[in-house]
């Protein structure tokens, strides 16, 4: 009441002053800050366009009415508003703006807190930082924006999945991606794991319209996420969407952009040798080990159906049309993207309103690959009474995609393109009039990529609704109740169709899948806050959470179509159906206590107890506490207002978080029978008119416990020179124990795995963020944000007697594994024979079957670790330049280390298409040695290693002498141990996948207020991945064969990455 009265009186007084003294005069003065005069300060009369700037001495002069309010603003300073009084001189002292420190961030369970109070690290990405980036999936726009976060886009295909981890992985075989929260509700963002074949499907984070996002908080450590209990172990991404809050007038915004994308890096091919084998041209041959293209011409035989120019014959023997090399990459197209968005918002003290509508249509770089998304969002709040605020938030998304086959798959487009013989033109028709396929293997082998892109389709359609209600009942300043409850509901369906004549499904195929997924989340919070004294206040939140998820799917397929091109399940003699269902629930009570002392010391304590249906009844709950402390030491007398160190904070936290088992792991079951051996797609039931079941090969476990993550972090946040320069340093340590995993066991036990709390792993390292503003004045600013991350993510133990296990996403050979004592994600494959120092043995035994001068595959020892996929460190730097209304920024992203299996090139060696196979020309003397006079010198190489041989027991024996035997990598080598198919070891295909890339670059210009209708007009041009520097010889090494899965680091005919450009406009009415 008192406050209200005061306000009223002030208003009255102001009005009186206005009326009484409204007369224009010249006001002069000087603007300074703690260090002296401030030039370039904008001085405007509030509510008008009249204004001026201070000169070099900080002086200004302006004509204003008495009672008018002058507003002084300067970047990095708090804006000062002061009414013109009786005096004609107004000298102003500006204070530095600690607003960035006062910045409010959304933390766990929607509790908003000032960033400076936090005892743990949180990084925030703003709408403006993602607005111009040409990414359909917002997760891609977070790449390079923060420290501690790793994001891998699986391919350049439109709608391809993303894989995100924060501070490494915390689970061996479970989910390692963070929890996503949108406006307080957890949403499903998984998906996008595709296996080594099939298509790149989307991660469901793609269903979020990036233009709806106001800010994204990345909660990295245990203390930050502890209130999420059993869902907290992988960090959390907290998304807040735009709303009409803080608006005072209606706002209509229109966005439109057009983008183009092209393939980026591609594997190099040899262009010298024609299709054929052993130097002889052979139509239909699998290989490009034919004669030199320059020595061939066409015979012009029009009856030869596989090539419109006829067969290839020696120059002089044909029609004079020389043979030529066909560039397989002409297959790729320039993809186009259009994105349009409209939002309408409004707000006042009684409520707020936000509505948006968007539509995105993307055509990929692979012909017929498409992704489209339409979204609608409505967010509204209203004041029901002085006490009660009520709000709803609803979003609808339709995401649709047409995906094209990729990877290790006879229909995979890269597989078809890169194995196609050099002299075969896939584009000269993929289908004969009789409907059969034209391909380089004369009908065998692999699908012509044009056939695939036109005749093999995977169409996906997702309809999704997320929405909830929230309300807050404020009983007093001391106590309020908050509630937020809602659902995330979606149906996904896909149709997977192969035309008759496809190599993978010669009789045609149709698969139809439908699923329904639903999560429900309810958070009830009792919030108390009390200021005990000026120096000491406390906030307490008591809360309750209910969470449930349910999904059901139905799948039917028809193998072998009776009527061509008619895709209906009934159009087949053999169709099978299956269904699946999964359900789980959790419940929790939690408390969050925040104590603040003197704006200096902030202590946070949280505790949460979780119950879960997926855990054994006797052991279904666990308690997770956390404590964090923030200490702003620059608040200590003596350190206050220091001219160098403007702000300094030490922070530290400890926490325990967790993870639970997925459903149905506590007992044994039987499954509908199916079996396969990796060579063929296998057999299943119904079979011979019967149903069949077999016991599951994984043993359940009634004694499961919760997984535990114990984490701690310490950090400093230091800002210098009035916040012009800041360093934020964090050291973190996560120890994960009792990790649940399906532990592989010897199959001779009758089972191949048992579900156990078996493993432990740790992740520890540093994150450094540097902010700097080297130039900062009214017209021109230069801001730098740089992040550096280095951590180890080691598997410390697996189950007893198990020292490694395979992760999904690899092959029989090689595999991606978790290996005790190594970084999570090691590639396992065969190695060469080596001596005890690790040097490769080069065969020197003329009597054995190995070639002299070449290394030898060690099959005897089986698979061994041949490279870690995790990078040594990552860093990124965003430079932003603002000159008046022009803004220019670019983001450089660096990944150092991390190996990738380049199975693509390894297999291309076998087929004779890789660039490396172009140096095959070799001539021998009658004695069988290389004839150096005729063999091109550039083709001669000497393998690194020492001489040795393999003894009768299959063990390598070194002679200790360095190898100097010259050899040429010829067809025999490449079809032997120089390729995977010839029996070469995977280690030969391991490559460094480091990179430096210009991930994003954008120029944006905001026109000064154009008219009363168009309040704001912004145009921008941006680009993504326009430049990449990498030692990796395949596609863009930001790639994942199996999409969003734990087994990263595999490249086997992966679809290439893309570079893209976008031109856009944003108008505000």
């Amino acid at each position: 009441m008192k406050t209200k009265l005061n306000g009223f009186l002030t208003l009255l007084l102001a009005l009186m002053v206005q009326i009484t003294f409204a007369q224009e005069k010249t006001v002069t003065g000087k603007v300074s800050d703690a260090s002296g005069p401030l030039p370039g300060v904008t001085v405007i009369i509030k509510g008008t366009k009249t204004g001026t700037q201070t000169d070099f001495d900080g002086k200004y002069s302006i004509r204003a009415n008495t009672g008018a309010v002058l507003q002084f603003s300067f970047v990095g300073m708090k804006t000062v508003s002061q009414a013109v009084g009786a005096s004609n001189i107004m000298n102003i002292v500006m204070q530095e703006d600690a607003e960035s420190l006062e910045e409010v961030v959304i933390t766990a369970v929607g509790i908003s807190r000032k960033e400076k109070e936090l005892g743990y690290s949180v990084q925030t990405v703003k709408a403006e930082d993602i607005r111009t980036k040409p990414n359909a999936d917002v997760v891609n726009s977070l790449a390079g924006a923060t420290s501690g976060v790793s994001i891998t886009s699986s391919a350049g295909d439109a709608g391809a999945s993303t894989f995100m981890t924060i501070r490494g992985s915390a689970s061996i075989t479970g989910n390692n991606q963070p929890l996503f929260i949108v406006n307080g509700l957890p949403i499903i963002t998984g998906g996008g794991y595709s296996g080594v074949a099939g298509v790149n499907t989307s991660s469901r984070s793609i269903d979020i319209n990036p233009d709806d996002i106001a800010s994204v908080s990345v909660l990295k450590g245990g203390a930050a996420t502890a209130l999420y209990g059993v869902r907290a172990a992988n960090g959390a991404v907290i998304i807040t969407t735009k709303s009409g809050k803080n608006l005072t007038a209606r706002k209509i915004e229109f966005n439109s952009s057009v983008g183009f994308s092209q393939v980026s890096q591609l594997p190099a091919m040899q262009k010298k040798y024609a299709q054929g084998n052993n130097g002889v041209w052979a139509g239909g041959s699998a290989f490009s080990y034919g004669p030199k293209i320059s020595s061939l011409e066409y015979d012009g035989d029009e009856t030869y159906k596989w090539d419109p120019n006829g067969r290839l014959v020696a120059t002089g023997a044909g029609n004079g049309t020389p043979a030529k090399y066909y560039d397989p990459y002409e297959f790729f197209q320039t993809g186009a993207t259009t994105n349009n968005g409209l939002s309408i918002s409004n707000g006042n003290e009684n409520g707020s309103f936000f509505f948006s509508l968007s539509n995105l249509d993307q055509e990929g770089i692979v012909p017929n690959n498409q992704f489209g998304r339409t979204t609608v969002r409505l967010n509204a709040t209203t004041k029901l009474s002085e006490m009660i605020n009520f709000g709803v938030d609803m979003a609808y998304t339709n995401s649709r995609a047409v995906q094209i086959q990729k990877g290790s798959n006879v229909s995979g487009v890269m597989l078809g393109l890169l194995r196609t013989a050099t002299t075969f033109d896939n584009s000269a028709g993929y289908e004969f009039p009789d409907g059969t396929q034209r391909n380089y293997r004369n009908g065998g082998g692999y699908d012509n990529p044009y056939w695939v892109s036109n005749n093999v389709k995977f169409e996906e359609d997702v309809n999704r609704f997320t929405g909830g209600v929230n309300f807050n009942i404020k009983f007093s300043d001391f106590f309020n109740i908050g509630y937020n409850g809602g659902v995330d509901w979606y149906s996904r369906r896909y149709i997977d169709q192969y035309k008759i004549g496809s190599r993978g499904n010669p009789l045609g195929y149709l698969g139809e899948f439908q699923s329904y997924s639903r999560t429900f989340n309810s958070d009830l919070l009792f919030n108390f806050q009390k200021e005990f004294s000026e120096d000491f206040n406390a906030k307490l939140t008591l809360g309750n959470n209910f969470y449930g998820s349910f999904s059901k799917n139905l799948f039917g397929d028809a193998d072998g179509l009776s009527i061509p091109d008619f895709y209906q399940l009934s159009n087949s003699a053999t169709n099978t159906t299956s269904s699946g269902e999964s359900q789980q629930r959790t419940m929790a009570v939690f408390a969050d206590l925040q104590l603040a002392y003197k704006n200096m010391l902030f202590l946070g304590l949280t505790g949460r107890n979780d119950w879960a249906t997926t855990m054994p009844e006797a052991n279904d709950d666990a308690f997770y506490p956390s404590a964090s402390l923030g200490f702003i030491f620059t608040e200590i007398e003596g350190l206050k207002n220091n001219s160098i160190l403007s702000f300094g904070k030490l922070r530290g936290s400890v926490a325990r978080t967790a993870n639970i088992a997925g459903p149905y792991n506590t007992s044994n079951y039987y499954n509908a029978t199916s079996t396969a051996d990796g060579w063929t797609s296998g057999v299943n039931f119904p079979y011979a008119g019967q149903t069949g079941f077999q016991v599951t090969s994984g043993l359940g476990n009634p004694d499961l416990k919760h997984e535990t993550q114990d984490s701690w972090e310490i950090g400093t946040d230091l800002r210098f020179f009035k916040n012009r320069f800041g360093v934020d340093f964090t050291y973190f340590s996560n120890k994960n124990t009792d990790l649940l995993m399906s532990v592989p066991i010897a199959p001779s036990s009758g089972f191949t795995s048992v579900f156990l709390n078996a493993a432990s792993m740790e992740s520890k390292g540093i994150e450094i963020s540097v902010t700097a503003s080297p130039v900062k004045n009214e017209n021109f600013t230069w801001d730098i944000l740089a992040n550096f991350t280095k951590f180890t993510n080691k598997v410390t133990s697996l189950a007893e007697g198990v020292d490694n296990i395979s992760l999904p996403g690899g092959f029989t050979v090689p595999q991606v594994r978790a290996v005790v004592g190594r970084e999570y994600g090691s590639v396992f494959g065969e190695d060469w024979y080596r001596d005890e120092n690790g040097r490769v043995l080069i065969n020197d035994d003329p009597t054995d079957s190995y070639r002299d001068g070449y290394p030898m595959t060690n099959s005897k020892q089986g698979l061994v670790a041949i490279g870690d996929t995790k990078p040594d460190w990552t860093a990124n730097m965003t430079n932003t330049f603002n000159y008046k209304n022009l803004s220019f920024s670019f983001l450089i992203d660096v990944k150092s280390g991390g190996m990738m299996y380049n199975g693509t090139a390894f297999a291309m060696n076998y087929f004779g298409t890789s660039e490396r196979t172009g140096n095959r020309e070799v001539y021998y003397t009658p004695q069988g040695t290389i004839d150096f006079s005729t063999t091109p010198a550039g083709n001669i190489k000497v393998f690194d290693g020492v001489y040795g041989h393999v003894d009768a027991n299959g063990n390598g024996v070194s002679s200790g002498v360095t190898n100097v035997t010259p050899i040429v990598e010829d067809q025999r080598w490449f079809q032997g141990q120089g390729s995977n198919f010839g029996g070469g070891p995977s280690v030969a295909a391991m490559e460094d996948a480091s990179w430096v890339r210009l991930r994003d670059i954008s120029i944006s210009y905001t026109f000064p207020k154009i008219s009363e209708t168009i309040k704001d007009l912004n145009i921008y041009v941006s680009g993504k991945n326009l430049w990449i520097d990498t030692p990796y010889s395949g596609v863009d090494p930001e790639t994942s064969l199996s999409g969003a899965g734990n087994g990263q680091g595999m490249d086997y005919f992966n679809s290439p990455g893309s570079k893209s450009y976008v031109v856009g406009v944003k108008m505000t009415f």
Partner: protein, 460 residues
């Protein structure tokens, strides 16, 4: 006054909320939800039986092991990719992982469950148990002939936490094969069954055929010990033959259908990396054998051509309709094989009837493969040619195309004479399979260290 209402409201909301939380808690965390709605916790024997039979057909005698050892036996040739690697005698632990996993975690474990279910007091169904024992012995026999020592006495007890079973010697494994088969015959003779055999896709619950199969499999493995047991092996095998198959109608076969195609057929459409081996094709062609058009397809030029081992002749003939059509059956054991066993036993023991058994064996195969008796061809090419061990095993090799037996017999007898493949990475044809990668990884202490050039026990 307003404050009092506020206070009441506040407390009411608090109390109601707490009530809601505590009461709904026990309902919400309903552990019955953690019962998998998609997977039964218990299934009857007749749904397990066809699963095992299908897995045996697919893994043991379908494409996987048979492809590899028929390449080594030069009945096939691997002309591309992994098959070409196999053709040069490189076979890694990872390559045999899937078949090993199926043998234990699909075939044996489900057979053990059948045996357990059929032995429960009050539900005793000895015939079901007997069928399972025949299948177990058959699998164990094929597997040990490829792998040698195997876990058996401690195996298949993972649910009792025996996760690293020890390896039994092949001798112990063989003892168990014979014991299983003897018990099987006893069980199959028992007529008091609570549940009759159902779900049997091999013999359609014909118990007398299962008894013949038990004896036939026993004969196969008694003979396999000829190097170890000498004449005793032949004598014992002959005794078992007497109760074995009596015609082609008794053949021990796993059927395939359009929805579940023959595994070699699947391999040829999905991978296609093998062709007919030159050795087999030449043997058949030189004798104008009527089985050739069934064993092989014509090549592009209309001829039957085999790929010389390791020559990568991709234009050679593909496997034919006998073993590579969509619905070609996979062969666990044939009447013809039994007659070859009889012929060998009689021949080595110097007993009468070797010639007749040999001729009957070839005739049975020709009839089975071609669908016609081809008596004229038999009369001019087989009948009357004096029987020798070489003849017996070479004809058994032809008749045993697309099974594991030629490889077993080759190692035992050295017939037929085979040259080493072009580009071979080891000097001779491998004499066994390596152990599976999963055993090397997860049963490291127990799995014997072997190379594929070491001989299994019965071959030593």
């Amino acid at each position: 006054m307003k404050n009092i209402y506020k206070l009441i409201l506040k407390n009411l909301v608090l109390v109601l909320s707490l009530l809601l939380i505590t009461t709904s808690c026990s309902d919400w965390i309903d552990h019955d939800l953690n019962v998998d709605p998609d997977s039964p916790a218990n299934v009857p024997m007749d749904l397990l039986l066809p699963s095992v039979q299908q897995a045996m057909g697919y893994h043991l005698v379908g494409n996987n092991t048979v492809r590899t050892n028929n390449i080594w036996m030069q009945q096939f040739d691997g002309v591309d990719r992994q098959s070409y690697t196999e053709a040069r005698y490189q076979l890694t632990p990872a390559d045999v992982n899937n078949v090993w996993n199926s043998i234990y975690a699909e075939i044996f474990i489900n057979l053990h469950i059948i045996i357990e279910k059929g032995s429960v007091e009050g539900l005793k169904s000895p015939n079901f148990v007997g069928v399972a024992q025949v299948l177990e012995a058959t699998t164990l026999g094929i597997a040990t002939d490829l792998f040698g020592d195997m876990p058996y006495t401690e195996a298949l007890d993972g649910s009792n936490n025996v996760l690293k079973p020890k390896y039994d010697t092949q001798q112990v494994v063989y003892d168990n094969i014979f014991m299983l088969l003897d018990n099987a015959v006893t069980n199959l003779n028992n007529t008091s069954n609570v549940l009759n055999v159902k779900g049997d896709v091999i013999y359609n619950s014909n118990i007398s055929k299962w008894k013949k199969a038990a004896n036939s499999i026993k004969a196969r493995h008694l003979l396999q010990l000829s190097k170890k047991n000498g004449n005793a092996a032949y004598t014992a095998a002959l005794a078992a033959v007497a109760n074995g198959f009596t015609s082609n109608d008794d053949d021990f076969l796993v059927p395939w259908e359009v929805a579940n195609k023959n595994p070699i057929n699947q391999f040829m459409t999905q991978r296609g990396d093998i062709r007919m081996g030159a050795t087999l094709v030449n043997m058949l062609a030189s004798n104008s054998d009527p089985r050739l058009p069934f064993y092989a397809e014509k090549d592009g030029d209309g001829n039957y051509v085999g790929s010389i081992p390791g020559s990568q002749n991709a234009s050679a003939s593909k496997p034919g309709k006998y073993n590579a059509a969509e619905t070609s059956k996979s062969i666990l054991m044939s009447y013809s094989e039994l007659k070859f066993i009889e012929a060998e036993c009689r021949f080595v023991l110097g007993l009468a009837g070797a010639q007749e058994a040999y001729e009957a064996a070839v005739a049975a195969s020709v009839l089975k493969v071609t669908g016609a008796a081809n008596t004229a061809w038999l009369a001019s090419n087989i009948n009357g040619v004096p029987v020798t061990l070489k003849n017996i095993i070479e004809q058994k090799y032809i008749a045993g195309y697309s099974t594991n037996q030629p490889y077993a017999d080759y190692r035992r007898t050295g017939f037929p004479a085979l040259s080493v493949a072009i580009g071979a990475v080891i000097p001779a044809i491998p004499t066994r399979f390596p152990y599976a990668q999963d055993e090397l990884d997860y049963n490291t202490a127990n799995v014997p260290s072997v190379t594929i050039s070491e001989k299994v026990w019965w071959n030593q």
